[in-house]
């Protein structure tokens, strides 16, 4: 009985995932650019700029299904566990790695990064938005948070792939309820790694440069 429910849940998650991909292809018609090579089944951390709630589904859509199942977005637990529907999409469809960002909800001495490290130890790839929140300013990119550096430090073997998403925020600006179909661009840059002895600020500056250089590629 338990087992049957599990299979049903997997089936529902699979179908919901395909439906999301279809809707994204119709409404966001992504043009996908791989600056170097193509999608590879290596352990990677995809770090992307964040301007729209559709960013995550879009990255997820353009990754081949075989990569998707091992590529998990890092997301806020308080957002994705609110209500059974969100929890289904967050946990079952996207397989999100949930991070508790409210200190009061964490257990004594619990490290919010622990779930991320566990996922990386298991060999999963991750999707993160290192700006930490949605960029609704006129700036191209907000300052990057330290999380990306910490991952590069604890798992130096994992490739870090910059991802730039362009034009998607026009599909449905905040506050609108009807999306306008358009063509978005998503560019995957050259994988990078932390150089030997590279400090946090230098590394984050380099990651930022990589994202902004990718933006040039995506908009040309």
């Amino acid at each position: 009985m338990r087992r049957a429910a599990g299979v049903l849940r997997d089936l529902a998650a699979f179908l919901a995932g395909r439906a999301i991909a279809l809707v994204m292809r119709l409404f966001a018609a992504p043009r996908t650019v791989w600056v170097q090579g193509g999608p590879l089944a290596r352990q990677r951390i995809y770090f992307a700029n964040h301007t729209s709630n559709a960013d995550l589904p879009l990255i997820w859509t353009v990754l081949p299904p075989d990569l998707r199942v091992r590529t998990r977005p890092v997301a806020a637990a308080d957002y994705w566990l609110k209500g059974p529907v969100r929890a289904f999409f967050g946990r079952d469809v996207f397989g999100a790695v949930l991070v508790e960002r409210r200190p009061e909800a964490r257990g004594e001495g619990e490290d919010p990064m622990a779930t991320i490290r566990a996922a990386l130890d298991r060999g999963d790839s991750l999707i993160i938005f290192p700006e930490g929140r949605r960029n609704e300013t006129v700036k191209k990119l907000l300052p990057l948070k330290a999380g990306l550096f910490n991952m590069a430090l604890s798992h130096p073997e994992v490739e870090l792939v910059p991802v730039w998403i362009e034009n998607l925020n026009k599909m449905m600006p905040r506050g609108e309820v009807v999306p306008i179909p358009l063509i978005s661009t998503i560019a995957f840059g050259r994988p990078m790694q932390r150089a030997e002895g590279e400090g946090k600020d230098d590394f984050l500056a380099r990651a930022r440069e990589a994202l902004l250089a990718l933006r040039e590629r995506a908009t040309s």
């Binding site: 018609a29 609108e176 306008i180 063509i183």
Partner: protein
Amino acid sequence: MIDLWLLFLFAFGCLTLATVAGGLMRRRAPGSEFVVDWNARVEVWWGMVVVLGLAMLAGFWGVLLLFAFLSFAALREFVTIAHLDRADHWAWAAVFFLALPVQYGLIAADWYGLYSIFLPVYGLVLAPVISVLSGRTKRFLARIGALQMAMMVCIYCVSHVPALVLLDIPGYEGRGVLLVAFLVLVTQGSDVLQYVFGRLYGRHPIAPALSPRKTWEGFWGGTFSAAVLGAMLWWITPFSPLAAALLAFVSVLLGFLSGLVMSAIKRDRGIKDWGHAFPGHGGFLDRMDSVVFAAPVFFHLVRYGWAV
């Protein structure tokens, strides 16, 4: 529908020839820009013939749904290169989710009196009204201009292709999809022929600022041979061979002009292609730009001259 199958045979024959020619050229001049371009085109033509063929086999509804989707894909490209202003969000949403389904619904209902004026009258009035309600006047004329052009080009013009199927022509009952085949074959054929004549004999550019590859030699060669192609296809139409040639001539002339207009829009926005749906081949609008102006005029000429 023996005609339809004969037509497929004809199209497959042409494409096979084009494929073989591409293969031969590839062996003789490997890596030449023309050959690579040619082979990419041939691949897209195969896809177009198969998709259009399946739609025509499915009859009116197949053609209607195909062109409704093409309208949607064209609009998606149009809105992407327009200066999309937050203030026009609802206006564009209305174009996508109101104007498009209503126009195709009216075509399905065969309500000629309304579908021929729905966008030019009600769309014309409604789109700027929705925009103006936002209260934002910056670049207002350019914004509503883009809305109108998107509606007319991507929805109104394209929707006249499936409308051909339902024209009531005595002695031509049940064969309406062949008119679609005639229009598409002639305009797309003229595209190819203009391209080939231009590459072979092109000397004098027509509009160097717009389209450096369009030449007078290509234009005359392509237009006249497309008229001959139209005459050769008279047996699938209700026209006489001469009328078929004339209609083909008018259609490809309009196709050429709409190609120029669509090129000018691209130039203005500093882009080379409308989209990236077909690698190396641009987007949906790049493939359809020669049909858009031809479709409503061809429709009206046929309706005046042959329908009851």
